[in-house]
């Protein structure tokens, strides 16, 4: 994208525009951070965590924040959202806490963890006010509730679990035969992704199809193949594990 933008700039008479080809991945690797917009902090489908001590939090915090003081963070793993793809933004008045906090959440498996530097000043500079009183709290019993917004073609974990009991649904397991034989969803049919295109005749056109795999990656490709073939299809964009007795867990 950026080289093309720079090309347009040249066309419009700008002298020697430059392109940072390596882009944001290299910027972060270099140890630099990025900043979110105030709009994203206000309305994004994200989890905001205030690492300051309670007295400071109660005096004024960014709305929608959960309070988890830095000293309690390492014991708070179970209070974090169940879904590891939840976008997490840590902030504090001591920005030195942000890097270790990020590292900890990443070690727990969270894939999208951000430090929100200089957060309170930025929040105020954007014309927003702080909220007073106790912030949201999370415990092991009532962890942070974050719901993924379903993307195009995705089925929710709840709907998928319900659909397993329905005859109208045809569940396609896109994993390898070995993965399938070590445990699979009750009633699901094994069609490894690499065979999907050549085994279409086995997949009924009059049923609602759901494709899944271990993490959602192969499931999404399978979904796209079947959609192009005119199937009514969705995919499970979640991680799952099934055992031989038919018990399963999806997160």
């Amino acid at each position: 994208m950026s080289p093309k933008s720079a090309g347009l700039a040249v066309k419009w008479g700008h002298k020697n525009p430059r392109v940072y080809i390596e882009g944001l991945p290299a910027w972060k690797k270099y140890g630099k951070h990025t900043v979110p917009t105030a709009a994203h902090i206000a309305n994004g489908n994200i989890v905001i965590i205030d690492l300051r001590d309670n007295t400071k939090v109660e005096a004024g915090y960014i709305p929608r924040s959960y309070t988890i003081p830095m000293v309690e963070l390492e014991d708070a793993e179970d209070a974090f959202p169940q879904n590891l793809s939840a976008p997490i933004y840590f902030y504090s008045d001591n920005d030195a806490d942000l890097a270790p906090a990020r590292k900890m959440a990443q070690e727990w498996g969270y894939k999208n963890v951000n430090g929100f530097y200089d957060a309170i000043a930025m929040w105020k500079a954007a014309g927003n006010t702080l909220q007073k009183g106790p912030a949201l709290s999370a415990t092991d019993e009532t962890p942070i509730n974050w719901q993924k917004k379903l993307g195009s073609g995705e089925i929710s974990i709840g709907d998928f679990t319900k659909s397993l009991k329905s005859d109208l649904i045809y569940v396609v397991d896109a994993r390898t035969p070995e993965e399938f034989s070590s445990g699979h969803f009750p009633g699901s049919v094994s069609i490894p992704l690499e065979q999907m295109k050549t085994r279409l005749q086995e997949i009924p056109k009059d049923k609602f199809i759901v494709v899944h795999c271990k993490t959602g990656g192969r499931g999404e490709i399978g979904y796209r193949i079947l959609k192009e073939e005119g199937y009514a299809v969705k995919f499970l964009n979640a991680e799952c594990e099934c055992d031989l007795s038919g018990e399963f867990e999806i997160w």
Partner: protein
């Protein structure tokens, strides 16, 4: 004429292969076999596209082409890799150039190549440390995030402005107005890596 003969040859190869397997429910093995054979003869085609999905386990890549259509591709351990050491280095969002052969309606990659970003004439690259220093020392920079505004919202370089490429190009020459006020300043564009 030669092509016709080859096609017949392939069909009978597949047929024989199915018969040998004695089970039409395992066609993928048949196709892999046919693909290996076909590599020697069939005409190779080339496509450039952006990776929208990649599965290392199923060795399958989905590409989106310029017209937003969906192109499915399989690779194998014998696929030639260029610009990367392992297929694991290919990530969603990256542009790749593929030479492939179509067999039985499926596309098999002969080679996968990381597309190198070509800079337009009059544009130069800036590296990370130079950019970091420039931000420290030169207050007159205009850093522009070319990604969609949602991505900018999630996180961007501290002093950057959001001017998505899609917006700029859609406006045709009116887009110049978005940049006009920065005419005498150093523009630096960036996005999410080699996309």
């Amino acid at each position: 004429m030669k092509k016709g003969v080859l096609k017949v040859g392939l069909v009978s190869l597949l047929a024989v292969n199915f018969l040998l397997l004695g089970n039409v429910l395992q066609p993928s093995e048949g196709f892999v076999f046919a693909a290996e054979t076909q590599k020697v003869h069939a005409e190779m085609q080339k496509i450039k596209g952006k990776i929208t999905n990649i599965s290392q386990k199923a060795k399958t890549i989905a590409l989106s082409k310029k017209n937003n259509s969906f192109f499915l591709l399989k690779f194998s351990d014998t696929t030639t890799l260029k610009g990367v050491k392992s297929a694991k280095e290919f990530k969603v969002g990256e542009a790749i150039i593929v030479h492939y052969t179509t067999v039985g309606g499926e596309n098999f990659a002969n080679s996968l190549e990381k597309a190198i970003v070509k800079l337009p004439t009059g544009v130069t690259e800036i590296k990370t440390d130079e950019l970091a220093q420039a931000i420290e020392s030169n207050k007159d920079l205009v850093i522009i995030d070319a990604r969609p505004s949602v991505k900018y919202g999630e996180g961007h370089i501290a002093s950057a402005l959001s001017i998505p490429f899609a917006k700029l190009s859609k406006m045709k020459d009116n887009g110049s107005q978005l940049l006009a006020k920065y005419k005498d300043r150093q523009l630096i564009f960036y996005c999410g890596g080699s996309t």
